[in-house]
Symmetry: none
Subunit: 230 residues, 4 copies
DNA sequence: GATGAATGAGACTTCATTCAT
DNA sequence: TATGAATGAAGTCTCATTCAT
């Protein structure tokens, strides 16, 4: 429409890439920051490293984020999947048994969260949450609470249907949660990086835990639906 | 002028400062350091804070530890007493079933490690080990390996005796380890500090996990054939 | 409001700070460092003083030099341009007598080294070399050895031509070197700063020494026999 | 006389050594300090090192010297030989020629000062005088001025007697002083520690310089006393 | 917008000096 | 008097943040 438009056209071939980049800058910075924060910790990661990994200069980082702390918060916010609403819906309409639902839930979680870079957030929160009370509250509200609620509802349904033994869900939910948290922490900690049984075979790991848990939860032979062998 | 004056002179309020306690200092500093490192992370903890919490000045810390990093290493070393030898011995002479042994093992671990300040080391290693490869190697060798080996031996015995189902122990051991790791991490992370179900009732938590795991591992009533192997 | 305002805007009094002069900084810092190191000694000079004298902040110094010690090394290197190659060439093609050459050599040395700030390096090396073995080795190789070799060659030529008496050059060379070293040390030591006979009249000092040395070295009139050897 | 005297007698065998030591403490500290200050420089020498070399604890040093700086001043004071008065007297009654006197003077200086640990003072003053104006003034007054005066008087006598050429003594005196200063600096500087021609053969060095200087100063054949060859 | 030179608060560490024993 | 544990001011160096270009 304007002359400047024509002027811009001249460099369009070059600027296409650059402009795409420009739009993507904040995202690239968040990605780089997530990786580095997870790998080295928040304090031990230098702002310049983040910028360098994102392919920009130090100054540019502060163009998009007010401070290193704001960058941290943005990293958490950006990578916290608000997927639990969606999963709660799936739960409502799920047709199989509670056991199937629980297994499906853990596998899906691995595919959609555990296996992705977003899983680093778990480690990050465990390590740094103490220094960021507000971001921690946000994480509690967006992740911990919905996640625990979903697990609890599934298990409650299992108990109600007689699939699972009656138990105190305040504690029982952690038999599901702990193995998943442990898996992602292992993935991101130096401590188990050399362990071939873990990150490389996460699916097998998940399957093994599901198997044990479901056996552990299932109602004894004498009860309603799980009579089988007896 | 008064008798009390003379009495006080020896331990007067003024002389509280500059106490000479060469013997006690290292321990006090290690205690303070463990607390702060666990709470805030190694990098985020200032040397002066450690000194202050131990009730000494900045300089005194460096009288006993060559550097902040050496202090860190000493903290790790101090809190890893090779308890596993002792536990392995207990395992050898244990008279009960593998299930009893496993339950006993987890309860004992809680009493002797999980409930103590030493459990903070777990969080510390997870957060910072990446930046201290040599410390990490030491921790792997002194804690991770012996711990996993002990669990594995107990479970293997259970399988051999037909108490437990046959399973791939490379993965199954984590059904025991994950809940314990999760517990201590929860204890030391702000993330779950507000969660009333966890730290206050660790014994109940342990009991619940033991119950589920043992159910999950146990062989079905009709399949005592594996016993023959033992 | 006024035209002058617009003119001033570009180089306004306010913008004096935070000038960006990447090219010039290292040189300015090296200059400042040389002055201060010579004046107060390396250890007694604070990094911040060097920065301040160069008109920059503490941090800027470490932008250009990895450490204070690296700065020290750079100061030495910067002020030791391998002048001796050039002087050795001059010696090869010099047409006059050895005596003329020696006098020329000392005068030239004064002009090109002694009178410049580079002469402070001598004092610096004397005071601090003991604490920096590698720098010392470098200085030996780049300055001491070539310098002594040049003097020795000139004197040897004088002996060979019968101009100078035969003598043990291992010691005789110091009759030339000592007065020069003494001169620059005097120049840079508080000890003789109040001495009006020295720094202000270095040329006269040099001339007087040359006169005495040449008399001291020259062969007695009747002993021209050594000439045959040359 | 008193009981305590008898009591002391009991431990006298042991305390003889100790008491002798006690008396000697300040001297041992000054010795150690001189060595270390000369070797490493004032700032780079730690008070504790001095104490350790003297065989006492850090605290004891400060029992005898108010501060490290006072220790430095005491080292200088202690080691500045007020021998010039004595030497001036020798000069008055010396029977030989001025040349003999000059040679005797340099040899004697080497024996009584140059070869001793006290010669380190020269290096110390060159290196540190700038930071200690008052001690420097003291050194000027006690050493530099009397020393230069002595040399000047000897040379003036040589000129007066026709032994030496007329010359500007303001500069000529350094032909004698420079080689001596250079010698002790060489002895104490890392720069020439590896040079086998210097410290090991100081007497030869001195002799060579004396030879050249005397030749350099001596009156030409045509003058009164030094006719010889012509 | 993007850059990276410049800044300066703040961290680790040293060491002269003090003082209870 | 002698000791050496303790102190804290001061120095080196880092790095989040700013800002002129």
């Amino acid at each position: 429409m304007s002359i400047s438009k024509f002027l811009c056209d001249k460099t369009s071939a070059l600027s296409v890439k650059r402009e795409r980049r420009k739009e993507a800058r904040p995202g690239e910075l968040l990605d780089a920051a997530l990786d580095l924060f997870v790998e080295k910790g928040f304090t031990a990661t230098r702002a310049e490293e983040v910028a360098a990994r994102a392919g920009v200069s130090k100054g540019t980082l502060f163009l998009y984020f007010q401070s290193k702390e704001e960058l941290f918060k943005a990293v958490i916010r950006e990578n916290i999947s608000g997927r639990f609403k969606e999963w709660n819906d799936e739960f409502e309409t799920f047709e199989g048994t509670a056991a199937e639902m629980l297994g499906y839930c853990m596998s899906t979680w691995w595919e959609r969260v555990g296996a992705t870079r977003a899983s680093g957030i778990t480690k990050l929160m465990m390590s740094e949450a103490g220094n960021f009370p507000d971001i921690n509250a946000f994480y509690q509200q967006e992740v911990i609470q919905p996640g625990q609620t979903l697990i609890r509802r599934i298990m409650q349904r299992g108990i109600d249907r007689g699939e699972f033994r009656p138990m105190d869900l305040d504690y029982a939910i952690y038999s599901v949660i702990a193995p998943m948290v442990f898996l992602v922490l292992s993935k991101h900690s130096a401590g188990t990086c050399g362990d071939p049984t873990l990150p490389g075979n996460a699916e097998k790991y998940i399957a093994a835990q599901v198997d044990i848990i479901l056996h552990g939860l299932s109602a004894p032979p004498g009860s309603k639906t799980a009579k089988g062998k007896a």
